[in-house]
Amino acid sequence: MKNGRGKLQLKPRNPKETLLRLFGYFKFNKFLFFGGILFIILSSLSQIAANGMLSPIIDSLVEDQDKGLFIKYILIMVAMVLSIGVSQYIGNLSMARLAQRTIHRIREDMFSVMERLPLAYFDRHSHGELMSTFTNDVDMLNQSLEQSVAQVIISVVTVLGTFIMMIYISPLLTLVVVFMLVVMLFATRFVGKRSAKYFRNQQGQLADMNGYVEEMMTGQKVVKVFNYEERAIDDFTDRNEELRKASTNASTFGVMLMPLMGNLSYILYGLVAMFGAFLVIQGRVSIGNIAAFLQFTRSISRPITMVSNQLNTLLAALAGAERIFNIIDEEEETDEGDVELVEDCTGKRGLCWRVPKDDGDYDLVPLRGHIAFENVDFGYLPGQRILKNVSLYAKPGQKIAFVGSTGAGKTTITNLINRFYEINEGTIYYDGIDIRRIRKHDLRSTMSIVLQDVHLFEGTVADNIRYGRLDATDEEVKEAAKLANAHYFIKHLPDGYDTYLEADAENLSQGERQLLSIARAAVANPTILILDEATSSVDTRTEKLISEGMNKLMEGRTTFVIAHRLSTVRDADAIMVLEQGEIIERGDHDDLMEQKGRYYALNTGAIELK
């Protein structure tokens, strides 16, 4: 299912489409985009012109110099140089701003889509994988947008412009330059190909190393307990050596371009000087022409080096952009419901479902918390049957418990009630309404879930409780905490309710986190409560505290409980024993004990030992 350690795609599958898509983002900043390009082109042209001015200036340095002309040339050059400065600043600034704004928007789009993806998506993709797209890929794209786009434009303009200037000054000398440029292009391609290969290899090794290190560091305490250190070091040494070789190769070829191109351009410089000298001797060009040409050879080889240097990064960035767009294109959770929750219940107190009828009129059904499953079939993957023909009902205010071994489908049932997943067959009714007709937002707003793996958010303790209902007052937050028996420990935290919890809330014990999540559920004041192994990581004494609060919380609410500990389900109105996706026994505790079936066996397992 997860492919977090799989090799990363480094080459874009469809570069053209991705590029177009990317350019699509520029439409939000047309002014920056076109203005930026304009000024970058202007700065490149000014640079060519400034270099070109060397030719007349140097040629004007003769004994009977026309001082006026000399000053005029110098002034033209000064103007060109000022133009380089100003247009380069405006151009670069525009491109950098464009990049930032684009990335900002892409990030926002990604996050917004992520929030609305169905849960099934997160089953298929590991957190690490998604996180890497959010950070590495976005980062890479940012850098490329900031530098590469401008770089490519500058290169094209510089090469073309310089070429025109050179042909204008001396077609013959241009021939020499063209010859060397071809050589340089071949050299670049030669190195570039190998470099790309080694670069990919290095990225693969890096990903391997990251995966390995992540796993080992996570399990480091296990390593200690098993005296596994030496074997781990041996293993690591091998991988480390592989990575070293890959990095050395990749970096050698990556860095090699610099001396290679730099010196090839010096060879070109030498050739120009030599052939230029012949031509001067023959009287075909002037010394000033050579001076300008020499400056051109430097400025024309730089773009080639730059672009070839960045080609790999650029391709990798495009591949990353593809992954980004894949997320953005992912289908969001559907919500076709037309039944809404309304406060106006025509005279009665409380909330009502507003059920539209075909004739444009609507019925008002009071919200009570009645749940019914009718022949429900479900599988997480196509063709899979996790739940088979499940039928059950819960009357408002009843407590329904699910018992069964791991993988029997207990959690799955609760995941269907709030429509985290879509059922394949059958129907689930909520107060007699098919839940598919109910707007998801309204459906979920009537339910609270307390899970075994508590997830808290960065923020204060009060913020975390208030997550259940954003407009809860401080007093209500405190009430909820008291109900969940969390008030006592919160009071003893350094800053009480204002204690700041870091992302993982590692400063709280498992039990305390659990208490907070119960308070969070309580403040939401739900009609339906789902407790999934909610107390299994709390010790029995704390559990006792919780169960008192929980009993108060459950009053008047339909509650679904999943628990390992049979003691917590004993007083349920109905207990469903699940086995491989089917309800094999149902009834209250006394009924089931009488049946002497699976439930009975589970309960008495401990006693057999005696």
């Binding site: 997860k2 350690r5 340095l61 050059m77 140089v81 380069q88 670069n92 600034l93 950098a96 701003r97 930032q100 900002h104 996050f111 917004s112 929030e115 993806l117 849960l119 997160f122 996180m131 900031e146 890096l206 995966g211 560091m217 480091q220 305490k221 200690k224 307990v225 098993f226 005296n227 070091i233 480390n240 070293r244 990095s247 050395t248 970096s251 860095v255 090699m256 610099m258 001396p259 010196n263 010096y266 060879i267 030498g270 000087a273 000298a277 001797i281 020499l294 071994s405 993988g407 879930i449 997550y467 014990s509 010790d539 029995t540 004494r541 390992h564 003691s567 004993r570 057999e608 030992l609």
Partner: protein
Amino acid sequence: MRQIVPYMKKYLPYAILTPIFMILEVLADIAIPYLMSRIVDVGIESRDVAYVVKVGSLMIVVAFIGMIFGIISAYFGAKAGYGFASEVRLETFKKVQGFSFANLDKFSVASLITRLTNDCNTLGQVTMMSLRMAVRAPFMMVFALIMSFTINSSLAAVFMVSLPLTALIIVVVLTKARPLFMEMQTRVDKVNAVIRENLAGIGVVKSFNRQDYEEAKFKKRNDSLMNTALKAISMIVFVMPILNLIIYGTIIAVLWYGGQQVVAGSMLKGELISFITYITQVMISLMMISMFFMQLLRGIASKDRILEVWNTESEIRVVDEPIKEVVDGSIRFDNVSFRYPISKEYTLRNINLDINSGETIGIIGSTGSSKSTLVQLIPRLYEVTEGRVLVGGVDVRDYDIKTLRDEVAFVLQKNTLFSGTIRENMQWGMEDASDDEIIKALKQAQAWEFVSKYKDGLDHVVEQGGSNFSGGQRQRLTIARALMKEPKIIILDDSTSAVDMATDARLQKVFKEELADITSIIIAQRISSIQYADRIIVMHEGEIESSGSHDRLLEISPIYREIYESQKKGVIGE
């Protein structure tokens, strides 16, 4: 620096040769404009074609040699840089392997991962850059300056203005931009924190309908990131245009003054042209130096983070002549008090406890009663603060730590399986264990019943963290892995919480009957998991409240009675 540099030793020849070849390349690069000026001033002036060919060929040869030197230097630099990085990475990994639990508590897992991966890579890159750029740029600058002064010292005076000016601008921009970039990094971290949090808690977000709320939170941080980034960038984009202005300004100044000298006959045209090339070389070198400093800062930050790992000393001391045999599985706590190194308060106070070899001990108590802490002292995962812990009659501090931990198997509460196969995971307990031995342990841990159902049996793949198994299966596999060690003592720290009751009961039976000669210590939440232990210890707020058999505790321990009352409801026939 002194601490980390010795790790270059293995690659020292490369580290020395890299800058040498670099300097040779620089010399070639410097010679070329000079040769060019000879062609113009001598060759063209005297119309001597042979001279032009001679010097021109020389230029090409020099450039070619420069290229070879440059490529060699690139290769050696990569070898030295990444070789060094790999040595440092290995050393860091070794260091972490030597960490005690207390050390591991200090560093978060994520931070250790970053240090081993990103920081080491950065170090390699920066080392390579230092060996090349940090040599190339200053040498290039100095040589080019020397050449300019030799050609025309009065003209070279322009550098007196342009060099300090450039340096000043670079320094000002960098010092202004640095804090902005650092702030940008914190904002990036904040944006990532929201993403990570939402990925982990997507279920919570959805069930509370908090998508819009989270999006607003994200938007705020994303906006503030962009604003800082824009500020930082407007500083940085200043650099290039200004530098261009200075370079071309210098060229114009040289053309102006030099041009007049050429007209006056005190300077040659070729010299003037080569002078212009030298200006470019000097300025570009200066820019490279500034870029290098930015890289260096990154490298230093990485180095510091790595050294933080290196300089963390394990508090676990090794005695001179450690004992290499554990005679039996008896355990004794002798007036033990303990507090975590990071904490001020004592977690355990005055613990006295005698456990006979082969006894089965259950430990129960509320969270925070320090049950886990107590048992972690037995394989010396933490060092006692006061008193002593004896295993087999010997203070745990006198043992060879490997011997001790081989005999004390510990199933951690937060346990992990590693990616690979079931067999490979089992072999953690015993290298080269045979299939029969593995199956035996799996059977004892009640894991064989589901492992045997896999078509590929022991070769069944375990995904990272054992994510393809249910909680209960994972726990049984980790118990089996511990049993593979054939220890004298086994400790289960709340390791059966996800196992269903019937299986749990069978497990207990195995520990009590089949593994009767192993001392077993079982921490549990449910009384049913330990009810039949030889002795049950009730922990309360870092002290032993009482101990005894199930029946005795029901009589004497109010805490035990309370726990029992709350749990017995589910059990009939009491």
